[in-house]
Amino acid sequence: MSSAANPSLKTSRQLLLQLAAITKKFGPLIANDAIDLDLHKGEIVALLGENGAGKTTLMNILFGHYVADAGTVMVAGADGILAPLEPGAPQAALDAGIGMVHQHFALAENLSGLDNIVLGTEPIFRLRRDRTKARTKLAKLMAGSGLNVDLNQPVHKLTVGEKQRIEILKALYRDARLLVLDEPTAVLTPQEADSLFATLRQLAATGLSVIIIAHKLAEVLAVSHRIAVLRGGKKVGEMATDQADRRSIAELMVGRDVPVSRRSERAPGKPVIALRDVTIDRGDARRSLHGVNLMAREGEILGIAGVSGNGQAALAQLIAGLDRPDIGSVEIFGEKVTKFDAHQFAQNGIARIPEDRHHDGMVGSMTVAENIAIEDVRSRDYQKFGFLDFEAIRKRAEHAIVDYDVRCPGPDAPARLLSGGNIQKLILARVLEKSPKLILANQPSRGLDVGAQSEVHRRLLEAREGGAAVILISEDLDELLTLSDQIAVIHAGHVSAAIAAHDIDRSELGLMMAGQKKTDENTPRSGDPA
């Protein structure tokens, strides 16, 4: 409907795909609400939207993983005539030339790349497999697209970028005319992402149509011809990329102005936690710390910058009371800690926002309400005569859902149904409602969309205003520079002295993260901090 209202999008090119009024409900949640989308040959369309906007659901319907409650999917055959696609059948989608690269790769890790690509393309009851033809075809595809990867390696030995190349090759091997990529850059380094975009543009030039699901604006603007924006299950806008501007798209996605977080000037209070010459040696560099001194004060955000895998995990474990130092000591409110026990630390007002929110932040099979109460089941607030008071827990959850804008079917819905951003809001609600003295926020906005990210930032600043200390572990320099009062850099288990955030600039921080000391910027990496 909205595409018809926008005649500038009509091209002379051949129409390949037409989604009409697609609607899909999961219980009371409307994931897709009458969405229309057209796609032409050789066109790259970006499907943009916040987490939970319904992008992935729409593509899963297209590919036959889900069956739509209403609406039709029409795909052009070889003759260019649109015909309806059989719903709920990935095989039909594959036959129609649709290939999908899932966000969580659909690869069997025990098989080689070649086996994964060939799987399902040959008649299944055969005495032998003939791979020479497959190899020739793949060699040609790899040469043509630049998607080079060792096909004989078992997939579990490949890097994330290589696995993604296997996924794309899987589609190309089946002569896909339409390639759907679900959040393809979420797992890639910036260089890998750039090379992926180059490949996609090159493939589009040869006639391949691409739908790319994304929530990062810059990427979308760099690669697509056209942008369709989804919000809350509805298509709220569609435009040619060269006529789009960042700000208006961001507003379309979020549905309101994206507030820019600002720090107020505020003098820090007394120290909440202090690490004194802490060394933890676990053999593995990712899990070790060497002579770390660190102090977080009330009303202050201490940023810990660093490329992930440089000891952040060890630091987070230590501050949460999940590990103990081999050498050195930890002080909480000036008192030396003798008992390293997570419950004890929580009692002292230390709350954590864990790095892996799906794995460490919640229990997927439990309800939203239970997940809210999970860290405080021993608290009197949630008990009645020694039993859990589900009425109180439910009430708390209902409040949290409203106050923190957790989008979910209700307090009794299993938490696994929530999108990443909403899980993070759930965790924020759990953590902040306790008015903690110290918040350990480990990569709190990684993988979140613009809206959820700004919400996380606002809440952390609010906690700082309220006098809490915040330790913010992050890889995102913008986030660190916006939020932090002080920034320390972690590299190979060593933590630099904290520097006031306004005395530091991006490039300097970047160099320190790569292992160079602040004072001698010209020394290469060999001058590792002692």
Partner: protein
């Protein structure tokens, strides 16, 4: 010295292979199921059903190969029950498997008792006879060990090869290995996860049943209560020992068979000092020891025990 002598006799290895035969069928069946991602604890009951069905078919006049076929059918029937419960319905594989074991065992005993209400000693059939294969029997050492084996043992050895070929050389085997590692990879390539898993469980179960049939139609010539005696459970352990590979499954089964044959012979040598139960325990103790060494590094099929539902997020 006598111990070494035992190990060097062809007679000993013939016994080891004979004891190993039902285990070979069982481990192959279990590993096919598990490669597809389904643990089949119905194995003990399926052994019983196979033993009973095969024997009864022969006793009723179906002929030996008719009995084998009938045993395989009984196995696939119980396999199908397990597959339906665990694959499309996604129920607990442990609970369903143990349920199938109890059901298959009880149904077998019930059928036996109903068909033969008043016999005190079980009726006998004429079982498979040792084969004399012209070229094989002439081989040194291996020849005599193979000489006293029946057609079912040969079938077990052939099945090791066939299972290996199917799993590693055919598109079907590729799909089975993929579905046990990541079902989404199979669905994304347009194949049916349900069909593959159900098919693998049914095929694996029919192989398991042949293990039972070997007991009543080759090793012995009648059906007794309790004759499976934990062989099915041993197969589940041997599957881990074999790292889900048919070749290693043969090795594991032979190892167990050898332990068992060895303890029988050891009993006659040093039986005066130790109670016989200690020797009976030995193969099981050694399998536990072997399992501890091997299984710590075991690379389980990643989707084993994990139900998969179409269209679920």
């Amino acid at each position: 010295m006598e111990i070494i002598d035992i190990l060097l006799t062809a007679n000993f290895w013939a016994a080891a292979l004979r004891i190993a035969t039902p285990l070979i069928f069982g481990v192959l069946g279990a590993l096919i199921c598990e490669r597809a991602g389904v643990l089949n604890l119905g194995i003990e009951g399926i052994f019983t059903a196979g033993a009973m069905a095969g024997w009864m078919a022969v006793w009723l006049g179906a002929g030996l190969w008719g009995g084998v076929l009938f045993a395989a059918l009984a196995g696939s029937f119980f396999g199908l029950i397990h597959a339906i419960l665990t694959v499309p319905l996604g129920l607990s594989q442990h609970v369903s498997g143990i349920g199938v074991t109890l059901l298959a065992t009880s149904l077998s005993y019930f059928t036996y008792r109903t068909a033969l209400p008043d016999v005190s000693s079980p009726p006998r059939i004429i079982p498979f006879q040792p084969l004399d294969i012209p070229i094989l029997s002439d081989l040194p050492f291996i020849g005599p060990a193979l000489l006293s084996q029946t057609a079912l043992t040969m079938l077990a050895l052939v099945m090791v090869f066939v299972t290996g070929w199917v799993l590693y050389r055919t598109p079907l085997g590729l799909a089975i290995r993929a579905v046990g590692d990541n079902p989404s990879s199979v669905e994304a390539q347009g194949l049916s996860v349900y069909a593959l898993r159900i098919g693998a469980v049914v095929a694996g179960s029919s192989l398991m049943a042949l293990g039972g049939a070997f007991l009543t139609m080759s090793a012995f010539d009648a059906f007794f209560f309790g004759m499976i005696n934990g062989r099915g459970w041993v197969c589940i352990a041997l599957t881990v020992f074999a790292s889900w590979r048919p070749g290693k499954a043969l090795l594991g089964a032979l190892l167990f068979g050898a332990f068992d044959a060895f303890q029988v012979r050891l009993q006659t040598e040093v039986g005066a000092f130790l109670p016989s139960q200690v020797f009976l325990m030995m193969p099981y103790l050694l399998s536990i020891a072997a399992l501890i060494i091997v299984a710590r590094k075991a690379d389980y099929p990643k989707a084993l025990l994990v139900p998969w539902f179409k269209g679920q997020r």
